[in-house]
């Protein structure tokens, strides 16, 4: 992580000010984003749902009726 002084950036400053990201590179990269995020999110949320159902079917339901 760079600690050298940077100009102040905040989310309302238009992108034309100095920031670490090169415009052309960002545009190139945005053609693939968010395929990686989707892959990771689908995988992790899918595993989460699976884990929930395993707990539901193999621990919860077998413990029997109560109410």
């Amino acid at each position: 992580m760079a600690l050298a002084p940077h100009p102040n950036s905040s989310s309302q400053v238009p992108p034309s000010t100095d920031d670490v990201v090169d415009e052309a590179a960002l545009e190139r990269v945005m053609r693939e984003v968010p395929s990686g995020a989707l892959a990771l999110s689908l995988l992790t949320v899918g595993l989460l749902l699976l884990a929930w159902f395993l707990m539901y079917a193999f621990v919860f339901l077998p413990r029997g009726m109560v109410g």
Partner: protein, 543 residues
């Protein structure tokens, strides 16, 4: 940074001193619960420790961290001096006095009621007054955050409030709503009982009022971590925030859905009907949404950074991220722990399934992992990220920051995973010593010891964290000037946002409607039905 520097440092040092003390107590508690003989172990000592540990971690660490970080964001994100800094120092003073008052009563043995202080067990009135002072101090902070945002909007009409500040104010608004429950419980029920003005307390009402606060408070703690996810991690990784709009929506969803859900802490209680339990469970399912949205948005933001660094394919961008940066490392660890902690939370929320886990070590595991893990590791990362701008110094190497984060992550996983298992086996909560000669309990012993080792690793990490911060103040630290605080830019930084995404008037109305629907009758019923009251039981070193 005009006023925030000293305010933020003051608040954060208090917060981190609280972690260090609480970590020592926590390790001793784990020793006490294990089959290994622990020193100084009496029931009084144990429950005093649990009360102190809970109050330090749940009320002191958190409130001071949120306040200190809020002052920092208010000045650096808005680029304006904090309005009314004297009031901020008053809030700080109230917090200190309140914390000390509570601490004295706890260590004197007249407040062994745990951080949840369920009546009719009743502590010294000064315990509760101490907590009230901390809350009042935080209300001053809320007012200042709102004022700072309104000031900014007046000075720059039409300019979107920077996301970090928008989120901070969302948190402040949510906190004002949140504290109503516990404030009502304390002012109208518990403190009068503690002073002896009432001999009996309506426990159904007090538990319901406390539940109002008990869930939303965890979002009060969590939002700074999410502010770091949205506005600091993408910058640290060298990328962009995928969507500023989704950021705003996330914090709005937290504001709306953190509050009408507290009854999921009361699923097993006999004073509320299934109908309202189900309604609040449905709202709880909705509050899962902002987290699931965050998983995607932050992944996409980090993916931008990873691909800019040459990462390819569906997952190559992950390896390409600058993991040597503590903020990036902490974010990765936070999300990993979020899978377990959030998953556990989904189980807790799942109505009938709550019966498998209520008041077992599973619950203890859940909140240590999600709060102590995901949230607190981001508190560490935030501290490491802002300390250079607070002190104009940096340490020679970031290696010990990374080591500290790894120790925290490993310690938290090792401590909490066995607790999940033990909870399902039926290990119940808030026990000073277990009877390990019972055949069912004997089997738990080895796992309790594993968990204890996790706790020891966490203590080492907590002490290393304090050491790492002290490193900034030492003579051999590198002096840097002209550092400016950095917040992530969005892929498409907004030039204008709709009023609904730039303020909270509409959302406050929605919160009011949801709270009336969720808590209206559940609270009103105690004034309609004739529920007998419970006799006040004072705790005074005699139990």
């Amino acid at each position: 940074m005009t006023h925030a520097r000293r305010l933020t440092l003051a608040h954060l040092w208090v917060a981190f001193a609280a972690i260090a003390v609480a970590a020592v107590l926590g390790v001793w508690q784990m020793w006490a619960r294990s089959p290994l003989p622990a020193p100084f172990l009496t029931a009084q000592a144990y429950f005093t420790s649990v009360t102190a540990h809970g109050v330090s971690m749940a009320y002191v660490l958190t409130t001071f961290m949120v306040m200190g970080f809020g002052y920092y964001v208010a000045e650096t994100a808005l680029g304006r001096p904090l309005p009314l800094p004297r009031l901020a120092w008053l809030g700080f003073a109230l917090g200190i006095v309140g914390s000390l008052m509570a601490a004295v009563t706890i260590f004197a043995g007249s407040a062994t009621v745990l951080f949840t202080f369920y009546p009719p067990l009743t502590a010294s009135p000064f315990f509760y007054i101490g907590l009230v002072l901390v809350v009042v101090g935080s209300w001053i902070w809320c007012g200042l955050m709102l004022w700072a945002m309104l000031d900014f909007k007046r000075a720059s009409p039409g300019v979107p409030v920077p996301l970090a500040m928008f989120a901070t104010v969302a948190n402040a608004v949510m906190w004002l709503w949140t504290t109503v429950g516990v404030a009502a419980e304390l002012l109208f029920q518990v403190i009068p009982a503690a002073f002896g003005w009432n001999e009996a307390v309506d426990v159904g009402l007090s538990r319901t009022l406390f539940s109002w606060t008990l869930h939303a408070i965890v979002y009060f703690w969590l939002i700074p971590a999410y502010i770091a996810f949205y506005t600091m991690a993408p910058q640290a990784a060298g990328g962009r925030l995928y969507s500023d709009t989704m950021g705003r929506l996330t914090f709005i969803l937290f504001l709306i859905y953190s509050l009408p859900v507290g009854m999921h802490h009361l699923f097993m209680d006999p004073q509320q009907s299934s109908a309202f339990k189900f309604l609040q469970m449905s709202f709880t399912a909705l509050v899962a949404a902002p987290t699931l949205l965050t998983v995607f948005t932050i992944s996409a933001s980090m993916e931008i950074a990873g691909r800019l660094r040459g990462g390819k394919g569906y997952f190559g961008w992950i390896g390409a991220l600058p993991w040597d940066c503590p903020m990036v490392l902490a974010t990765g660890m936070a999300f990993f722990m979020l899978w377990f902690g959030g998953g556990g939370g989904l189980i807790n929320m799942s109505f009938g399934m709550n019966a498998m886990v209520h008041n077992t070590s599973w619950v203890t595991a859940h909140f240590h992992l999600i709060f102590g893990g995901t949230v607190v590791i981001m508190y560490f990362a935030i501290a490491y990220a802002i300390w250079p701008t607070l002190t104009d110094r940096t340490p020679v190497s970031l290696r010990y920051q990374r080591l500290q984060l790894w120790l925290w992550f490993i310690g938290m996983m090792v401590m909490t995973l066995p607790w999940h298992y033990l909870g399902l086996q039926g290990q119940w909560r808030r026990v000073a010593t277990f009877n390990y000669s019972d055949p069912i309990i004997a089997g738990w012993g080895p796992w309790v010891i594993v968990s204890f080792i996790g706790g020891i690793i966490l203590l080492v990490s907590a002490l290393l964290f304090v050491w790492n911060l002290l490193e900034f103040h030492r003579a051999h630290a590198v002096v840097v000037t002209g550092l400016r605080p950095l917040y992530a830019l969005a892929v498409h930084p907004p030039e204008r946002v709709p009023a609904a995404l730039n303020g909270f008037a509409l959302w406050n109305v929605l919160v009011l409607i949801l709270m009336i629907a969720a808590y209206g009758y559940p609270i009103a019923q105690f004034f309609i039905i004739d529920a007998p009251e419970a006799i006040v039981h004072r705790v005074n070193g005699r139990g």
